[in-house]
Symmetry: C2
Subunit: 338 residues, 2 copies
Amino acid sequence: MGERMKRKIRVVQFGIGVIGRGVTKVLVKKGDMRIVGAIDVSNVGRDLGDIAGIGRKLRVKIRSEADKVFRQAKPQVVVHTTGSSLKKVYPELEKLIKAKVNVVSSCEELSYPYQKEPKIAARLDRLARENGVTVLGTGVNPGFLMDAWPLFMTGVCTEVKEIKVSRVQDAAHRRIPFQEKIGAGKTKKEFEKKVKDGTIRHVGLAESIAMIGDGLGWKLDKITESIEPIIYRKTVKSSYLTVKPGLAAGVKQVGHGWKGGKRLISLNFEASIGAGTSYDSVSISGTPPMEVIIKGGTHGDIATVAMLVNAIPKVLDASPGLKTMKDLIISALINKSS
Amino acid sequence: MGERMKRKIRVVQFGIGVIGRGVTKVLVKKGDMRIVGAIDVSNVGRDLGDIAGIGRKLRVKIRSEADKVFRQAKPQVVVHTTGSSLKKVYPELEKLIKAKVNVVSSCEELSYPYQKEPKIAARLDRLARENGVTVLGTGVNPGFLMDAWPLFMTGVCTEVKEIKVSRVQDAAHRRIPFQEKIGAGKTKKEFEKKVKDGTIRHVGLAESIAMIGDGLGWKLDKITESIEPIIYRKTVKSSYLTVKPGLAAGVKQVGHGWKGGKRLISLNFEASIGAGTSYDSVSISGTPPMEVIIKGGTHGDIATVAMLVNAIPKVLDASPGLKTMKDLIISALINKSS
């Protein structure tokens, strides 16, 4: 009875790709939320329930005109899942904010934009405050595994000297698109080409490093990144591919945060057929030292959808402005002359 | 230059026992905080620096009259570390709130008081709002390991069915007071007596279970707790004690949260000489399932001090009222008919 009387949170899904459909599937299970609109340039006019594959119609049609959807549906929050580039999605975010709707977005460059796009970050923050809404970029990575989670674990530290975070994924049993995305089976030359044209790339390492640095009060003077193929000396297999020695079995992306020549933050992102094991880990050199491991690793797709949905109530409660996962966590405070 | 211009956070330490001294030792290292007062009924008139053992005077004298300290020192926040019982420390908390000072407290029963002391919780919340201050109970346990941390990890879950949390400590190399506190070397009868008179007891399991339950939207109908000695079949030793088979080597305290006959939350707290290993773990049955482990476990004393200090800026930023660690975390939202 109390359940029906209580008003449900009105949510619009903006972007009905893989993540948007995943979010839809989860939102329909949450008793205190209601999907009141859907925006995309594809499948216009189709029912969101059909496109999301939930097995029934939602009686919410996908529309392309965001303004119309906001006027009619009057949402409190939009889950925004259209792209990774902050410059590209900025016009969409601006539109959402001016419609006075709170925003939870999967845009990786929004997860911590202050270092790479400080002007856009400042503009978003100002706009959000003026319009009385909150904007948050989140997801599994960036958004949790390689930034929020390590920061959270520092809450029990009186001092932190260095942080290392690893995400290692064995791609042998992952879906075919994932095995392709990591460059498995490619020659070194083909791999390098795919890196150049951006088809092999985890977006967010620099953002995660900047978030950890700021979260701990470290004034980093340099953030470096590198990406290379993982090449094994033996043949490795998945149900889809056989990768001979010398060919790329996957990708290793490493990022570092430096201060005064010291490497304070190390992020190690690996995915390969033949990794043999999957795990996520945080290693804190500090007082006390902390070695934390997620055995088997975290399922990325489910986790991204979860973070977006679970953030909704927090975003509604938060004060207006641009927020990041760092704002929502207790982490270790910097010591003098650190 | 910017550092000196920026105003330091003015902190009063209320309670100069083991934890209070630990907090003092850490506070003096934080460049953005300043200890402006100290309150206790012991060591009145002594310099806090001397009592805390930091190797120099702080020019802050320990006083017994809290009101005088607040008037003269004008703190923004008090770190309150006087006791575990909410009923007992309530008058102190009321005094702090009426002096319009924000409060971070190590009182275990304050970490999540809504289930066991709902009237006190409501009163504290109302008083805090009326006086425009924030009150937070925190620490390593309760406050992090067996509540906030598991809740935080559910942030990547679209669904949670059950949670198990373990804290296992090998007491062989811990300080003598710790080995005594866990009943090591006692006969069963002696152990039971110490449980009865409250000298063997970890306060906070019920609070942690209630926090997890509310954090996940589970309306628990029952919280149960049990405490028993850990008895090994072989002799176990520490540098201090030899424990023969049949004697208590330590304590095992277990708490459960139930709903409709189903056990949804299990907290397992163990400390013994001869445990052989130390670790903290979170096991989530859900989507996705999560197995997380802190290898070697978390150093409890350091972590408690860290949580209290690191919470200070968050408490200053938060809106007025009684807060708990649950309020500061993104965790999994409940599904319909869960």
